[in-house]
Amino acid sequence: MTETEKFSIPIGPQHPALKEPEHFVFSVDGEMVTSASVRLGYAHRGIEKSTENRNWAQNLYLLERICGICSHTHALTYCLGVEKLAGVEIPPRANAIRTLVAEMERVHSHLLWLGVAAHEAGFDTLFMYSWRDRETIMDLLEQLTGNRVNYSANVLGGVKFDVDEELAGAILDGLDYLEKRTYHYLDVVTTDAAFLQRTRGVGVMSAERAERLGVVGPTARASSVARDVRIDAPYAGYDEYVPNLIGHTTGDLEARFEVRIKELFESYRLIREILATIPEGELTSRMPRRIKANEAFSRVEAPRGEVFYYLRSNGSDKPDRIKVRTPTLCNMASVLTLVIGQQLADIPMILVGVDPCFSCNDRMVAINRGGRSEEVWTWERLRQYGIDYYGGSH
C-alpha cells in the first residue's frame, strides 16, 4: 500500500478568494479536504471594551461600524437594547422607518452576496449584473439617509430621517425594476447548468446537523430549520409587517441561493406594505442621558442571521458592559465541518455560502469543550486576562 501524501494549504489572511483578512488551514489528501481550521482575529479591534469609554450616544456610531454591510442592523439592535434599558417607547412612525431601512438593507446585502458568491463560482457576469442592479437600492438608501454605507438612520429613541411622498414613489419604482431582475436571477441560479454544477449537492447540511452546529439565518433556513427572529420574537415594526418564513429542505448550496433570492421578494413585499400603511406621527421620543442600573438584551435578524446584544448600565451616561454576538461566528463552525470530504475547489463556494462577514466575526469567545464545566469567569478574572494578554498597554 502506498502512503498517500497529505498537504496543508494555508489560505489568507490576504487572499484573492477573501475580501477580508482571515486565516484558514486546510489539509488535503489529493483533492479531498481532510481537515480544516480557522484563525480568527485579524479584524479584532476591541470595540466592546471601547464602548465603556464612550457615552450612550457616541456608542451608536461606534457600534454601527462593527460591520459596514449590516450597519443598520447593529445600530438597530443597540437602540432597541438601550430603549429597553431606559424604558422608552418609540413612536410607531419611527418603528416603521426602522423596519423599512432594515429591509432595504437586506435587499442590498443579499444582492451583494449574490454577486460575491457568483464571483467565487467563476461566474463574473452574474457578479457584474447583480452589482449593477444593487446600485438601484444604494441610490434609494442614499436618498433616504444621505449615505451609501453606515446610514446612521437611528438615534436613541427614534430615527433621523423621514420618508416623503416623492421618495416613496422613487422607492416603489426602484423595487419594480429590482423585482423583475430578481426573477431573472432566480431563474439563473436554479436552471443554469454550469452554475448548478458548483452548487447542487455541494456542502449539504442536514437539519439535525444545522441544529447541532447552532447555525443561524438563511443558512439555517436552507436546511429546513425554521428560525427567524423577525417571526419568533418580533421587534421594531415586525409585529405589524410580518414576513413569511422562506425555507428549503435540501440544505445544499443551491438551497442557500434560493432562500436568499426568495427572501428578496419578501423584502420587496414588506417595503411596499410599509410605504402603503406608514403611520403618521413623531420621529423621536425623549431619551434620558443617564440610564439607571439595569440589564437588557436585544435580538435582531440581520441579513446573515441573528444578532444578539447584551447591555448593562450602571446609572452613568456610559454603558457598564456591552456584549455582541454576530451571525458569522455562529455559522463559522458549519464551514469547518462542511468542507471535510469535499473537493478543494469547492472551499470558496462553501465559505461564501454562509455569507461570511469577518469584520463582525472577530470577537473573543471562550469555547467550553468538555461538556459540563463548573468554571465561571468572574468579571475581575476576565479583565485581568485581557490586561495580561495585551501586555497591559491599555
Binding site: P13, P16, P21, N53, G68, L112, M128, M138
Partner: protein
C-alpha cells in the same frame, strides 16, 4: 556611445512609466476595517463606476501589484501582514489609504487592539477621506495617483556633441 546608452535608458523608462500609468494593477488589503470601505472599492470596479476603464485591475497577489489599496485601522494581528504584503510588492510601489480609519483610526481610535493608522506602518501616497468614501472619490484618488506617476515635463538640456 554614452549618449546612445542614455537615450536607450530614457526610452525604456518612458515605456515603463507609460505601462504603469496606463494599467496599474492593484492589490487590496483590509487590516481591520468595518467592511464599508471594502464594498465601496468593489463597487468602484463594477459597471456603474467601472474603475477598469482607467486600466486599473484588481489582483490577488501582492507580487504582481503596483498599488496597494488599504482600508481600515491597523490591528495588532494584521500589522505584520500589512508590512509583509508591502515588502512583497515590487518597486516602485504606491499606497492608497481609503477611509477615515485608514487615515486616522476613525471611530476606532482608542480601541485596545489598534496599533494606529496606515501611515504609522507603511508610507502612504494618496489619502481618500470619507466613512466610507464614495466610489467616485476612490476613483478620483486612484486617478490622482496616476497623475502623480506621470513625469512632469522637464526641460531637456542637450549636451554638445563630441
Amino acid at each position: 556611445m554614452q549618449r546612445l546608452e542614455r537615450n536607450w535608458n530614457t526610452a525604456i523608462e518612458r515605456i515603463k512609466t507609460w505601462a504603469r500609468t496606463n494599467s496599474p494593477w492593484v492589490v487590496h488589503f483590509n487590516s481591520g476595517s468595518c467592511n464599508g470601505c471594502d464594498i465601496e472599492i468593489l463597487a468602484a470596479l463594477t459597471p456603474r463606476y467601472d474603475l477598469e476603464r482607467f486600466g486599473v485591475e484588481l489582483h490577488g497577489s501582492p507580487r504582481h501589484a503596483d498599488v496597494l489599496i488599504c482600508t481600515g485601522p491597523v490591528t495588532r494581528q494584521a500589522r505584520d501582514r500589512l508590512l509583509r504584503i508591502y515588502e512583497q510588492m515590487p518597486e516602485p510601489k504606491f499606497v492608497v489609504a481609503i477611509g477615515s480609519c485608514a487615515i486616522s483610526g476613525g471611530v476606532f481610535q482608542g480601541c485596545y487592539n489598534i496599533v494606529g493608522h496606515i501611515d504609522e506602518v507603511i508610507p502612504v501616497d494618496v489619502y481618500v477621506p470619507g466613512c466610507p468614501p464614495r466610489p467616485e472619490a476612490i476613483i478620483d484618488g486612484v486617478v490622482k495617483l496616476l497623475g502623480k506617476l506621470r513625469p512632469s515635463p522637464k526641460p531637456v538640456i542637450e549636451e554638445p556633441a563630441g
